[in-house]
């Protein structure tokens, strides 16, 4: 058994989701290689080299591959696989992996298993269905297993190694005609939602985008990432990629603070794996309290300034 990890990175650095995927792979076999595809990716390679568990890193560094266009990555992965056999191919179930991995599976004519949260053995996995309201234990009957891994369910691997890197050339592999127009990056000095230790999120109860300032001061004091419910994002209070939940980001911080969020099933789906959940809501019947370790029934507009001051 040999496993290949598809590395998520932005040429400058490796995304934490990759390190969690490596840990997941280490539970399947100890023969793990990683494949990085990109352009001018030296600094990302230098980071990845430190990863524990890896036998070897293959690097495809080619102009035209600076952005993760799924068609291009998939063409190169397939050509790579012509000379390299793997029993398992793992990607993180981030938007990067979700976009790319099913293409690899389809080209290999196998059925991908999405978003695994635990590994029973080399062909049996658990994954959430129905927004995490049920957990399916599934067995792959395919020869090659193509999996996406929920990063929050696996600790990132250690970084104390020095892995060999082999550059592989694919001069003739097709680069597709999809053009990359641009990325409107949401910039923030705060930690990333998916790897933050503390998250404070606001919902429709915040009433408008300006009021999120009430959460900012608290986030500053706690070194927290900021998130939101779908309702808050749909209403335009905050950017789209703040959405936490079934169809947004899955998070698992040590502390998740939900403010003015009712606790719909689709929101809970994204926060269930948090170590502690604290919530502030003025409605004592709000379902969020059923999932909270600590609940406070109060008007957020009164409580937040006090909370900020006392922290």
């Amino acid at each position: 058994m040999k496993t290949l990890i598809i590395v998520e990175h932005n040429n400058d650095s490796v995304k934490p989701s990759t390190y969690s995927t490596i840990t997941a792979a280490s539970k399947i076999s100890d023969k793990i290689d990683a494949l990085m595809i990109g352009y001018n990716n030296d600094s990302a390679i230098d980071e990845l080299k430190k990863s524990d568990h890896l036998n070897k890193i293959f690097n495809i560094n080619k102009k035209g591959l600076e952005n993760p266009i799924a068609e291009n990555f998939s063409n190169h992965i397939l050509d790579f696989l012509k000379n390299n056999d793997y029993s398992h191919i793992l990607s993180p179930s981030s938007t990067f992996g979700k976009n790319l991995s099913p293409k690899i599976a389809t080209e290999l004519d196998v059925q991908q298993i999405s978003d695994i949260i635990s590994i029973i053995d080399s062909d049996t996995f658990e994954r959430p269905i129905y927004a995490g309201n049920a957990i399916a234990k599934v067995k792959s009957l395919d020869k090659i297993k193509v999996l996406t891994v929920r990063p929050t369910c696996f600790e990132p691997c250690g970084l104390s190694s020095n892995v060999e890197v082999e550059t592989v050339m694919f001069d003739n592999t097709e680069v597709s005609s999809v053009s990359y127009v641009g990325l409107d990056e949401s910039k923030s000095d705060r930690p990333e939602l998916t790897s933050a230790k503390v998250i404070i999120s606001g919902g429709r109860g915040m009433q408008n985008g300006d009021n999120f300032k009430l959460l900012e001061g608290i986030a500053d004091k706690l070194g927290a990432a900021m998130g939101a419910s779908r309702a808050a994002v749909d209403a335009g209070f905050v950017p789209n990629d703040w959405q936490v939940g079934q169809t947004g980001k899955i998070v698992a911080p040590d502390l998740y603070v939900a403010v003015g969020i009712s606790g719909a099933t689709q929101h809970i789906a994204g926060i269930k794996d948090s170590k502690f959940i604290a919530s502030i809501n003025k409605d004592e019947e709000a379902p969020i309290f059923n999932f909270s370790d600590y609940g406070l029934v109060a008007d957020l507009f009164e409580i937040l300034p006090e909370l900020e001051k006392k922290l």
Binding site: S179, Q246, F291
Partner: protein, 251 residues
């Protein structure tokens, strides 16, 4: 231009699902079913394009048991022109099989745009659009929050990705999968629901498509998720901070 929109019948998103006693799946008897919410967004996008004159025909496709006719009717009432039901005996088909079925229909209908939801809220797979684009060897634009058709018949699609909003330009034909912010699906009006009853739904048996449908993933069992231990209510900010600091030790 012609659009093919794929719609799946799923348990309504408001229903609190129950895992079956024998762990074989979730209870679907006497449970409210609806169109997958992302597929409503897909239908809406096609209808909007028809209203702005970019598209002249919308085909609504569903794969499932006879009951999926109802879901197709919903799409027709929202503005679809005709429907296709690929009839199965109701068994769960893996996304790869669904992709292969949609491919057969696309090759017959030759749509310029194929629009799917990014994810079915029952299996939460988020695969079918990507599979289909690969099988058809055409471009894919997943997790779309904005679609703009250019005069040269290429389209710009803004995609919701983890780090922000990414825009790509793809040529037609292509596969688009919808994200939540693409639009707000309309409710079908009563007259349109009546009109939809006259629209044609063609039914084909999946076994007549000469596709080898095989099960690659076996569900061993379905369980309830682990429950969180019950929490406590606190009375004020001071006790909240005290708990977080000294009991949970997370701040």
């Amino acid at each position: 231009m012609k659009a093919l929109v794929c719609v799946k019948r799923v348990i309504d998103y408001n229903v609190k699902i129950r895992v079956k006693m024998d762990k074989s799946g979730v209870e679907t008897d006497n449970v409210k079913m609806s169109m997958n919410p992302f597929d409503e967004i897909a239908v809406e996008e096609a209808v909007k394009m028809k209203e702005s004159g970019i598209i002249n025909e919308i085909i609504i496709l569903s794969i499932g048991a006879d009951t999926s006719q109802e879901t197709i009717r919903t799409g027709l009432a929202m503005g679809g022109d005709r429907g296709i039901l690929i009839k199965t005996d109701g068994q769960d088909l893996d996304p790869l099989n669904i992709g292969k079925i949609i491919k057969v229909v696309s090759e017959k209908e030759n749509p310029d745009l194929i629009i799917l939801g990014k994810q079915a809220i029952d299996d939460d797979c988020n695969q079918t659009g990507q599979i289909l684009a690969t099988l058809l060897n055409c471009h894919q634009a997943t997790f779309a929050s904005k679609v703009e058709v250019n005069s040269d018949k290429s389209i710009n699609v803004t995609r919701e990705v983890d780090g922000g909003l990414e825009t790509i330009k793809v040529s037609l034909p292509c596969v688009i999968t919808t994200d939540l912010r693409l639009n707000e699906p309309r409710y079908a009006s009563l007259p349109n629901i009546m009109k939809a009853k006259q629209k044609k739904i063609e039914t084909l048996d999946v076994n007549d498509l000469s596709i080898k449908l095989d099960k690659r993933v076996q569900t061993i069992e379905v369980n309830d998720p682990p429950s969180r231990k019950p929490g406590v209510m606190v009375n004020d900010v001071d006790s909240l901070i005290e708990k977080l600091r000294n009991e949970a030790k997370v701040i």
